[in-house]
């Protein structure tokens, strides 16, 4: 349950990458239409190298990771905080503890072991995180909107996120871009990105590399190597820099010439939709 913020108030449907994403701008001719969430999920999947091990949270990250396994990265190692190592689900698990994860895993270990022996030492290449709020240094809030003691919105909280953000070799954040989510200062630091800038991770003793990519429904942001501030480096097809700036609560920096993300290929879309449209049968255990 690392990456699922509350569904309402901070909308981020974490069951299905394709559901309520806005329709993207007119698709490049000759390609099938796709939603902005599909673009986001495909862009995230592309960031996963074959053979890497990935600490996956439920929702879009899990969909993206499973998409990568089905396309360019068949050797991707999926690790879920429920203790399943090397899970090979044939459908996106509906929960972090979905039976399909244990049934298809190379190894199933206890929850203390997954955090202590596997995540904490820095064995994991990529951690995937969602966010209800994120700031320019990629610090993440999934705890509360408003004052902690009198919250306007009480979100689920930390889950595995703080240690994923601390320990994975790199972190990819997937979050829909809006002024409500992209804020100058998060209401609560649940997971540390670059703190208040260069050197903070080292000062805090965080051994992982921190956020390397923030993938949104509008484009891709990456930290400036010198300042650690998120910089817009890619725009998805049909998205303008102005649109991205309008959806950001701070004065968004952009690369001199943001590149256009390659649109989802027909193969990527087909694989993604096969994943997300496959619903498990009702296997109610009521009796």
């Amino acid at each position: 349950m690392t990456t699922a913020p509350a569904r309402d108030d901070h909308d981020h449907d974490d069951r299905d990458g394709g559901r309520d994403g806005r329709a993207a701008g007119a698709p490049p001719s000759g390609e099938t239409a796709y939603t902005s969430d599909e673009m986001m999920t495909v862009a995230a999947a592309r960031r996963l190298d074959d053979g890497a091990c990935c600490f996956v949270g439920i929702g879009l990250p899990s969909t993206a990771a499973n998409l990568a396994r089905r396309t360019h990265a068949p050797g991707l190692v999926l690790i879920y905080e429920s203790g399943t190592i090397g899970a090979k689900p044939d459908r996106p698990p509906l929960s972090i503890g979905d039976g399909v994860l244990a049934e298809t895993a190379d190894a199933v270990v206890s929850v203390p072991e997954i955090f202590n022996y596997w995540l904490q030492p820095g064995r994991i290449d990529v951690g995937f995180l969602g966010a209800a709020q994120i700031d320019r240094f990629a610090n993440i809030n999934t705890t509360v909107i408003g004052p902690y003691d009198d919250p306007r919105v009480r979100l689920p909280g930390a889950g595995g996120a703080p240690e994923i953000a601390a320990s994975c070799r790199e972190v990819t954040v997937i979050v829909r871009q809006s002024r409500r989510a992209f804020v100058t200062s998060v209401d609560f630091v649940t997971s540390v990105g670059f703190g208040s800038g260069p050197g903070d991770r080292e000062r805090l003793g965080l051994r992982g590399g921190g956020p390397r990519t923030v993938i949104t429904d509008l484009g891709i942001l990456e930290p400036d190597p010198d300042t650690c501030e998120l910089v817009l480096t890619h725009l998805h097809p049909g998205v303008t820099l102005e649109a991205a700036r309008a959806a950001t609560g701070w004065d968004l920096r952009a690369a001199p010439r943001p590149r256009e993300t390659e649109a989802p290929s027909a193969a990527e879309l087909a694989a993604l939709r096969e994943l997300t449209e496959r619903r498990p049968p009702d296997r109610s255990a009521r009796s």
Binding site: M1, A4, P5, A6, R7, D8, D9, D14, R15, I58, G59, E81, S82, G83, T84, S95, I96, G97, G99, L101, A102, V108, S110, V111, P112, F115, N116, L119, Q120, T143, Y148, P151, R152, V153, R154, L155, P156, G157, A158, G159, G160, P162, E163, A166, S167, V189, T190, V192, G195, R201, G205, L206, R207, P280, D282, R283, S284, A285, R286, S287
Partner: protein, 266 residues
């Protein structure tokens, strides 16, 4: 040596008003039936401990059984919010709910310390987050060899641990498999323990991936087939994902929630 008794009897014997109770099960093997029995017996002022409160604690909180919640992720997995939990924290309904909030790694290690008879656990966690500012139960600790500063959390030693497992034998030895989460640690950390099982068998035949908790380390075992529904018990049932979806609507409104609990639980 755990004795096999009826659920109502075990809950009445082991769970008292004001107790700290850890009902664990990481998505899998969540002890719903035992939680419902605690609701029926009208327990009050409980300190509820659980990594992922899930619907079971949403129900206990909504029914006013809890004074305090110790947790690390309070959502409806794959769906969204726990509305009763949110209503309690945001609007103090049905009453105020103290919360102590951690990360998964923090609570998991606190159980490990509890199971190990240690007063605290050490981890690389929480550093730089706002979590330590919200509880006295997260403190820095310095390595006596390297001088490096890490984080300590106090052991969790609940008055009662409640878990669900697939099987027990007549001597009260309990066998569980699949995703086993922190159940072993919760049971070993607790002063008393209650285990509900899908079935009681003569002999526990070994199974891949199974762990066994010896009967002499457990207080009571209860036979409760389907006792993990709407969670699941690998090999016996599947997760009722539709119910988790339905709960979003059932729990959103106080009256709808109360009516549902009256009809299905009380």
């Amino acid at each position: 040596m755990a004795t096999v008794v009826p659920l109502a009897e075990a809950v009445a014997e082991l769970v008292h008003d004001g107790d700290s109770v850890a009902m664990e099960g990481f998505t899998h093997l969540i002890p719903y039936a035992a939680g419902h029995e605690i609701i029926r017996q009208g327990r009050r002022d409980l300190t509820l401990i659980r990594m992922t409160p899930d619907l079971i604690y949403d129900q206990l909180i909504g029914m006013g059984c809890a004074r305090r919640l110790v947790f690390s992720w309070g959502g409806n997995p794959g769906v969204g919010s726990l509305h009763r939990f949110r209503d309690a924290v945001q609007n103090r309904w049905p009453g105020p709910l103290e919360i102590e909030e951690h990360s998964h790694a923090g609570i998991a290690n606190a159980y490990v310390a509890g199971a190990s008879g240690l007063p605290f656990a050490v981890l690389r966690g929480y550093r730089g987050t706002d979590l330590p500012g919200r509880t006295a139960n997260i403190k820095p600790i310095t390595c006596p060899f390297t001088g490096e500063e890490l984080t300590a959390v106090p052991a969790i030693n609940p008055d009662v641990a409640v878990v669900h497992a697939q099987r027990a034998d007549r001597r009260g030895n309990v066998q569980l498999w699949g995703i086993t989460g922190v159940q072993k640690e919760a049971v070993l950390a607790a002063r008393r323990s209650l285990v509900t099982v899908e079935e009681v068998v003569e002999e526990l035949e070994p199974r891949p991936g199974a762990i066994v908790l010896p009967g002499w380390a457990i207080t009571r075992v209860c036979r409760v087939p389907g006792g993990s529904h709407p969670s699941y018990s690998a090999g016996y049932s599947s997760r009722d994902n539709d119910f988790y979806l339905a709960w979003d609507e059932i729990s959103r409104d106080r009256e709808t929630f109360a009516a549902w609990m009256r009809e299905h639980i009380l």
